[in-house]
């Protein structure tokens, strides 16, 4: 049997074995993708979706504030970014824009940052606290 044919067989077998190793590894890796009974996206949604029932409007733009908007607050930027994205996902079709320049503002604040934010705006907003650090603020005209 020519050496070329043998080499061809060897490399084909090597590719197949490497692919089998990679595929099985991929399958094992999927067990680390998360837990079957815990959906962190749905969990986040359950905190923010009730806001939609409290709003007198069906669509439009809402403000969004979180710990990253509070001076001196301790936060992880990537967590804040993910929370903003999840909140937008939960509250679609409302458009969430970062900042306070809106009549209705959605807040994702820890108790400390909430106190800090409210203290300097006493009388300017009425707020509703929902479960899990979710807030809805309404600017008083």
């Amino acid at each position: 049997m020519p050496i070329r044919y043998r080499l061809k067989q060897f490399f084909t077998a090597l590719i197949v074995l490497l692919c089998a190793y990679a595929s099985i590894n991929n399958f094992i890796g999927t067990f680390e993708s998360g837990e079957v009974d815990f959906d962190h996206v749905a969990n986040w949604e359950n905190r923010f979706t009730p806001i939609k029932d409290l709003l007198p409007i069906q669509r439009g733009t809402l403000g969004y504030i979180a710990d990253w908007d509070i001076p001196g607050a301790d936060f992880d930027p990537s967590d804040q970014d993910a929370e903003y994205i999840l909140t937008q996902y939960a509250l679609s079709p409302f458009v969430l824009v970062r900042g306070e320049n809106h009549e209705w503002i959605v807040g994702s604040l820890t108790p400390n940052t909430y106190k800090q934010w409210v203290e300097i705006r006493t009388g300017q907003y009425e707020d509703v606290k929902l479960k899990g650090n979710a807030y809805l603020f309404h600017r008083i005209k």
Partner: protein, 253 residues
Amino acid sequence: MNFLLSTLVYIPAILIGFLLIHLIWRDDDLSSIFIKFFTGIGAGLGISSFLYFATLLIAPSKIPFIVIQLIFLFIVLTLNVFYKRFPANKFRLPKIQLSFSTVLLSFFLIITLASFINHSMRRDQGAFDAWMIYNRAARFIYRDTTNWQATLSPELYWGFHADYPLLLSLNVASAWELLRNENLRAPLIQGGLFLIASLGLTYTTLAKAKGKILATLATIILMANSGLIYSSAGQTADVHSLFLCWQVLLCFA
């Protein structure tokens, strides 16, 4: 039940794609039929997405989208009958030969599908991109159909990629419209369909052009790529892009 219904809603789109390609491409040998089927999955979902987009532009929420899909399917089917594209004597059932390459391919296919299902069960809302871009846009369209353009709002944070094509989002929104709820399986099935289409297209096209051994090897290499499973089960657009590029490249093979 959710899973079955979410699969069934994509059947008209797949049929449209297959029948349209069958009408244009007049090659009726069995391998070509399979190529047409796998190409038809992507083409059908693309056409369906475009039809839904046109419906939203012209008359959002006025006509159920399934009616438009069925009318289009009827037209394509009639054209196939008119041009005699179903010659009964040409269609033969495939002969399944249990060769080593078939066994090998089946083994890898089972692992790939198991990985897809396992990943999907653990992250049924998909990956970060899915809820940031595609399913978010689908929610904008489904939840407020008459005001669907809000998903393109320049006010949206750049990370939501409001400018991204609506292919996936429109298909998901139209599936939800038919199912009358935001079924989490609908975007997942779409990811699975593109996964199957990519694998099927790779195998059938290469088998026709270069033989079954090389086609098996290429498909195995593709299935061993972890990105393929995570992207399709993660409901992101990577596998769809792969499919479209693959479709063009393999047509030249």
